[in-house]
Amino acid sequence: MTFEVTTTHYLVLSFLLFTIGVFGIVARKNMITVLMSIELVLNSVNLNLIAFSYQLSDLTGQIFAVFTITVAAGEAAVGLGILIALYRLRETTTLDRAVELKG
């Protein structure tokens, strides 16, 4: 891995972001943070796509990235909607309070 920035750099960076995002989803108890972590994951994907599209000089990656961003927006909206509903029901956004269903 040289100082010269290559696609590999992007790959590693994106996977770092991905991992951090996953960690956030897994570890955090506050739903808002979890939603943000999801955004992180999607961003990492976008990094990949862009890097590859540059590497391959192919537009598809960029176009794909546009869709990813769209989906991210939509998911954020619905996720926050669910969050509101949760908050209305339980006066909290802590996921650990919602454990009625198990076993």
Partner: protein
């Protein structure tokens, strides 16, 4: 540059989306469309869509790629579209009575159902990873909402929340996989992908790519260990939605799973077969065993649907004609059976878990013999005992496995399906062999629902006794084998 003519081929999807919009408007105007009307509209539009699908099929010679190779029209896609439409229609029938229980706006519910279904139709025909993924997201997003539709019920909301977070994570993983595959091959179009993979041998991105992609797909079909969301969501979601998730969503997911594995990842067949075999085995074992000690019928059915995902995977991994149409036939049978079973659950269900425990089925045979007989039939079918579609389906799956040289998977399959008798007949035992006390609920009065159940029962029997035509149908819906 896609021609206008090509868009005509999208007629079914467009119609369905339009129907969804119509329902939204109908719901918005004035006091809004009521439950019955919306249901009627949905049924009609679904039927029309099905008609259009058949029409399109009639004009399509065999297999055809349109819209810049992002949309494929072949027997395979038509089968899934019809299956999904049929399932959704039945779910609508299941929903009517249910929505009366908790008063929520019906029109949006049906609208979401239809929009999601249009997403499924796109899934069935999608031919680029991009198309498939976006339509998958379309379906998923709607199902999150539907799962949480009874938002004033904690269980429903919890289900939505879990489903959403896990779903988002899984689609993140899936997406990451897609990005890697794109990086390795420079394309997201399935045919190109398969081609590119053949050239990209030894590129470490490839295995990571398709493994993460597979992980995402396994999540959708609820294969172990990506099943983890299933029990909670199935229990928490409104039962018709559960049925819809267990049938339509699962079917559509299997459609894209087959499509991607066979057409996109065809050239790495050998590698994924092995992995799928392991997953299938684990899924069958896990699902059946976990179901053994369930007391809540919905949860038990959830685990059983996990187990059945495992059985279907047998057909997937035996890459062969038999395997392919066994999967198709099995999911067809499975849909009827599961819808029927959930329908029965709905009839007995009351607020707050009431009527959902196995004990609530005690003496059902005395209280309403007909319903008990139906349920018995469905349980037999789920166990895979003739003369039901369940048996024939399992028979073909195991046949495919034996033929394809996956004997050990088949052995696990048959043994676990024997085990499954244990819990399925836990219900039968209660219905017939135990006597009821006053606490056990009496079934609702819902003609439409009962009709739907009866239809499912009839279909289950028909598939078992005269499977011939259905198999020929399935045989016309095959994919090109890798």
């Amino acid at each position: 540059m896609p021609s206008a003519a090509e868009y005509q081929l999208l007629a079914p999807e467009i119609l369905l989306a339009a129907a969804g919009l119509l329902l939204l408007l109908g719901g918005a105007i004035g006091r809004g469309m009521g439950n019955r009307e919306s249901a009627l509209v949905s049924i009609v539009s679904l039927a029309l869509t099905a008609g259009l699908v058949l029409r399109v099929q009639s004009v399509i010679p065999g297999r055809m790629l349109v819209l810049g190779g992002s949309f494929v029209l072949d027997g395979f896609s038509f089968f899934w579209k019809l299956l999904v439409l049929m399932a959704t229609a039945l779910v609508v029938l299941l929903s009517v009575r249910f929505l009366d229980e908790g008063n929520y706006r019906a029109s949006e519910y049906y609208a979401l159902l239809l929009l999601a279904t249009s997403g499924m139709l796109f899934m069935a025909s999608g031919y680029t990873l991009l198309t498939i993924w976006i339509s998958l997201e379309t379906m998923a997003l709607a199902s999150y909402i539907l799962a949480g539709y009874f938002k004033r019920e904690r269980r429903s909301n919890e289900a939505a929340l879990k489903y959403f977070i896990l779903g988002a994570l899984s689609s993140g993983i899936l997406l990451y996989g897609i990005s890697l595959l794109y990086g390795a091959t420079g394309t997201v179009q399935l045919a190109g992908l398969s081609e590119g993979l053949r050239n990209a041998q030894g590129n470490p991105l490839v295995p990571l790519g398709w493994l993460m992609l597979a992980a995402g797909l396994f999540f959708k079909v609820a294969a172990v260990p990506f099943h983890i969301w299933t029990p909670d969501v199935y229990v928490g979601a409104p039962t018709p939605v559960t049925a819809w998730l267990a049938v339509a969503s699962k079917a559509a997911s299997f459609a894209i799973l087959l499509r991607i594995f066979y057409e996109g990842l065809g050239s790495v067949k050998v590698e994924w077969q092995a992995v799928v075999a392991v997953v299938a085995a684990v899924t069958m074992i896990w699902g059946n065993i976990a179901a053994l000690t369930q007391q809540n019928v919905k949860r038990m059915l959830a685990y059983s649907s996990i187990a059945h995902a495992g059985y279907v995977l047998i057909g997937v991994l035996a890459v062969s004609q038999v395997g392919l149409w066994s999967v198709i036939f099995y999911l067809l049978a499975y849909s009827f059976i599961t819808l029927g079973a959930f329908g029965t659950v709905i009839l007995l269900e009351r607020k707050e878990y009431a009527g959902e425990t196995i004990a609530d089925y005690a003496g059902l045979a005395r209280r309403s013999p007909f319903l008990a007989a139906m349920m018995l039939l469905f349980m037999l079918a789920l166990t895979g005992i003739p003369p039901t579609g369940g048996f024939v389906g399992k028979f073909y799956l195991f046949a495919a496995a034996v033929e394809g040289g996956w004997g050990w998977v088949a052995v696990i399959g048959v043994l676990t399906s024997a085990i499954s008798l244990y819990y399925y007949f836990g219900i039968v035992l209660n219905m017939y062999l135990r006597d009821s006390d006053q606490t056990t609920p009496t079934p609702l009065h819902a003609p439409a629902l009962v009709g739907a159940i009866a239809f499912c029962a009839f279909a289950t029997l028909a598939l078992g006794i005269l499977p011939g035509p259905f198999i020929d149908f399935a045989k016309n819906s095959l994919l090109p084998l890798p």
